[in-house]
């Protein structure tokens, strides 16, 4: 793995850093501290800029019109994009576009025309519907939503819990059981239009997260054409796994970005703030918090970049991605917590971003596979088939 950035990487990272500091952060002065959206005019103006920078749709492969940038560089950019108040769950308020978990790269040409291309153009949004009330850690066994074949259609009954963005989506990936197999071989991925009769978003699930709330969905005799199966019948779990594994790297990068910003703020603050006649920075207990932050940040950054480099090389990166997600989400939580402590009362006030980062960072240890599940994935990779 190359440890030094190329001149090209330096340039693109500096461009995004400037964009975050000069375009995004100033808008947050006027927004509610929990806001997850920009005013439409601001968003449009900034998208024009990210397109002009050639960086719109960063998670989209070049074959589909995304920029030709390796994953290591994209990871470093994701670290930059998270360095503002809403940065953990709404990095740059979506002005860099992208498809997130609802990517449809194995879609048929017809499905691509209907769903993928409009998503890449920013005209449609998708959701990722895997978790259910019966459990999200082990979806292969927990999925109870059932799809039953009826002529050229499938009839889907059941529900999903925790699904982000479903109320604003035009379509979503719904994982349903299509065979009697109780594990990963009986699950199929359907592309479902949200205006299909029987589809309903029942409620918002209010959590610690301010941005992109989760929702609860119900499916009552929802009729979906067989042509809307994504990939192969009964092979949907592999699609879910693929998305979740890839997503672990940008997920980790977001936590690192927030941790870097929090540490930067603390490093500015502690030499200025005095207690008992001396600046906080002169106290060893404060210095050690800064040192521990630095170590947490560097460790998670290197592990995450290693995962990205492994993915770039085309090798199996499941273990590295799980390690990155595990280490960065836990380290991010510790760093934000220490920074809050150094800022005292201000650290927990809505005047500064720490309290939002603290709440939202807590979700990162659960969302997209809890820490224990990441450890389970790593152990499986280490021990191989003896553990399956």
């Amino acid at each position: 793995m190359q440890l030094e950035l190329t001149a090209e990487q330096d340039l693109v990272i500096a461009t995004v850093r400037r964009f975050v500091r000069e375009e995004i952060a100033p808008l947050e002065f006027d927004l509610d501290p929990d806001a997850d959206e920009l005013a439409a005019a601001d968003k449009e103006r900034l998208i024009t800029k990210t397109k002009a920078m050639g960086l719109y749709g960063l998670d989209i492969p070049p074959a589909f019109g995304g920029p030709d940038i390796d994953l290591v560089t994209r990871t470093l950019l994701a670290v930059e994009m998270a360095q503002h108040r809403a940065g953990l769950y709404a990095p740059c308020y979506g002005t860099f576009g992208g498809a997130g978990l609802a990517q449809l790269f194995e879609a048929t040409e017809e499905q691509k025309e209907k769903y993928l291309y409009p998503t890449l153009r920013g005209e449609k949004r998708g959701f990722f519907g895997l978790s259910e009330p019966s459990g999200g850690s082990d979806p292969a066994r927990a999925i109870q939503t059932r799809a039953v074949r009826d002529g050229d259609d499938w009839i889907i009954n059941g529900g999903k819990l925790w699904i982000s963005g479903a109320d604003k989506a035009q379509y979503g990936l719904v994982f349903a059981r299509t065979a009697n197999d109780k594990g990963r071989n009986g699950v199929t991925c359907f592309i479902v239009d949200t205006d299909t009769p029987g589809f309903a978003v029942r409620r918002i699930v209010h959590t610690l997260r301010s941005a992109h709330y989760a929702t609860e969905l119900s499916f009552d005799d929802m009729r979906v054409p067989a042509s809307n199966i994504l990939g192969e019948l009964n092979k949907g779990f592999a699609i879910a796994n693929d998305r979740l594994t890839k997503q672990r790297i940008p997920y980790a990068a977001g936590c690192i970005g927030v941790a870097i910003k929090a540490q930067e703020m603390a490093l500015e603050y502690v030499p200025q703030r005095e207690t008992f006649g001396a600046p906080l920075s002169s106290r060893q207990s404060i210095q050690w918090m800064l040192v521990d932050n630095e170590i947490d940040i560097k460790q998670s950054l290197w592990i995450t970049l290693e995962a990205a480099a492994k993915a770039d090389s085309g090798e199996n990166f499941r273990k590295q991605a799980a390690m990155a997600k595990l280490v960065a989400t836990e380290a991010g939580g510790r760093v934000v917590d220490r920074c809050m402590q150094m800022f005292g009362g201000l650290g927990v006030a809505k005047d500064l971003p720490f309290e939002r980062w603290f709440r939202e960072m807590r979700i990162r240890r659960i969302g997209e596979g809890p820490s224990e599940v990441q450890r389970h994935v790593i152990a499986r990779e280490l021990l191989g088939s003896s553990l399956r």
């Binding site: 929990d34 963005g165 604003k168 978003v201 918002i204 301010s210 709330y213 809505k350």
Partner: protein, 108 residues
């Protein structure tokens, strides 16, 4: 699980004595309990719900009933109440500005 606001409607004078500086959401209504406005007291609100309801009443002197929920999830709850109103009545309350919202179909 019902997502409707179940707090009792209160007259303005009584409400003014009870409102505090908390974060939260509120609804203003006319004498027929027809919702005129849905608002929230967020991280930038001076004096929280007390301040926000006070300001809203200055703009909407016709409102004579108010109810509220104290919640730190004020933004997501605010959007949920707006979506719920649109589900029930086909549009937002007259005094709410248009906002990009999703679509909810509550069970009850």
């Amino acid at each position: 699980m019902s997502i409707r606001m179940h707090k009792p409607w209160l007259g303005i004078a009584e409400a003014k004595g009870l409102l505090r500086g908390n974060l939260g959401v509120y609804q203003l209504a006319d004498e027929h309990q027809q919702v005129l406005y849905i608002g929230f007291a967020g991280g930038k609100s001076l004096f929280g719900l007390k301040g926000e309801v006070g300001h809203a009443l200055q703009r909407l002197p016709q409102a004579c009933l108010v109810r509220w929920e104290v919640t730190s999830a004020y933004l997501t709850r605010y959007k949920e109440l707006l979506m719920l109103h649109r589900h029930d009545f086909g549009e937002l309350p007259d005094n709410n500005e248009p906002l990009p919202l999703g679509v909810l179909r509550p069970a009850g």
